[in-house]
């Protein structure tokens, strides 16, 4: 597994964790708010663990690159303001991530550790998927996000994703370019950090 692949994994987890943490305090149900926030924290924790494999300074890797240098998929950058989309992404992400992690477990001990925590994320996502499967809002959100979800995985893994989600493989929004959302996200994410000289303590 090369550094670019690890960075893709870590950046995906960082950015989706960052996006999911936007719902802390405003999720549709209080009980879900608490649970969803734990998932967001876990994702960021996973990102940190992978960054630590790549660098002594995980924060520098997480925050101090310029937006173009991030390897995250467009899928996780999307700013989703409605729960239907957010939970649809959560579900699609977990299904895709399970495929990705299964492929990594052999070469990366950390992947097995991440996978054990992700088991609860998958339970949570599946629970919501079952509950909302009949809702037009959820179905529409899944359809809209589908090309992005496909783009999270390399082409060789997309048939597996298609089989699990029940949608045909289509043209994906590929990893390698970024959406318009990334720069504003990065600016907000780094605004406090950039307000002090590099190496300042927080």
């Amino acid at each position: 597994m090369n550094e670019q692949e690890l960075l893709s994994l870590a950046d995906d987890e960082l950015i989706i964790g960052w996006r999911d943490s936007e719902w802390t305090g405003i999720a549709p149900l209080l009980e879900e708010d608490v649970a969803f926030s734990s998932i967001a924290q876990n994702e960021i924790g996973h990102a940190r663990a992978v960054y630590e494999l790549l660098s002594d300074d995980a924060d520098a890797l997480a925050f101090d690159r310029s937006p173009e240098e991030y390897r995250c998929a467009p899928f996780v950058e999307l700013h989703l303001l409605h729960w239907a989309h957010t939970i649809a992404r959560r579900w699609l992400y977990e299904v895709a991530d399970e495929i990705r992690i299964a492929a990594l477990k052999e070469e990366l001990p950390l992947a097995a550790k991440i996978d054990r925590e992700e088991a609860y994320h998958r339970m949570h996502a599946e629970m919501w998927h079952e509950r909302l499967a009949g809702s037009p809002q959820f179905a529409a959100a899944v359809e809209e996000l589908w090309p992005y979800a496909l783009g999270m995985l390399p082409a060789s893994q997309r048939d597996a994703l298609s089989a699990r989600v029940g949608l045909p493989v289509v043209d994906a929004v590929e990893r390698g370019t970024h959406t318009d959302e990334l720069v504003p996200l990065w600016e907000e994410m780094t605004m406090v950090r950039r307000s002090a000289p590099a190496g300042a303590q927080w």
Partner: protein, 95 residues
């Protein structure tokens, strides 16, 4: 409310399950997902029992019309007699 789930949690293996609160959830799956986080995200619980509130049969009234203290510890006051017995036997402790 017909969707309240009572949460009982266990601190450590071997300790009693104690009532910790409740979550509002449509079924056991949601109740579990939510109670896991509300009552266990800090590793503060090793186990949970989730019980629909309707399944809890509440008992909170008792009749205690006749003095049945004989079968409880607080029904016995042995201090005075014990003192007398010790004095008789000469084993009373010096003051």
């Amino acid at each position: 409310m017909n969707d309240v789930w009572e949460v009982f949690r266990q601190d450590r293996r071997g300790t009693p399950f104690e009532h910790a609160g409740s979550v509002v959830a449509p079924d056991a799956e949601f109740a579990e997902a939510w109670a896991r986080e509300q009552y266990g995200r800090r590793g503060e619980s090793v186990a949970l029992w989730l019980v629909p509130r309707d399944a809890v049969h509440v008992v909170d009234e008792w009749a205690d019309e006749f003095d049945l203290k004989y079968r409880r510890v607080d029904g016995y006051s042995i201090k005075a007699r014990l003192k007398e017995a010790r004095e008789r036997a000469g084993t009373a402790e010096p003051r």
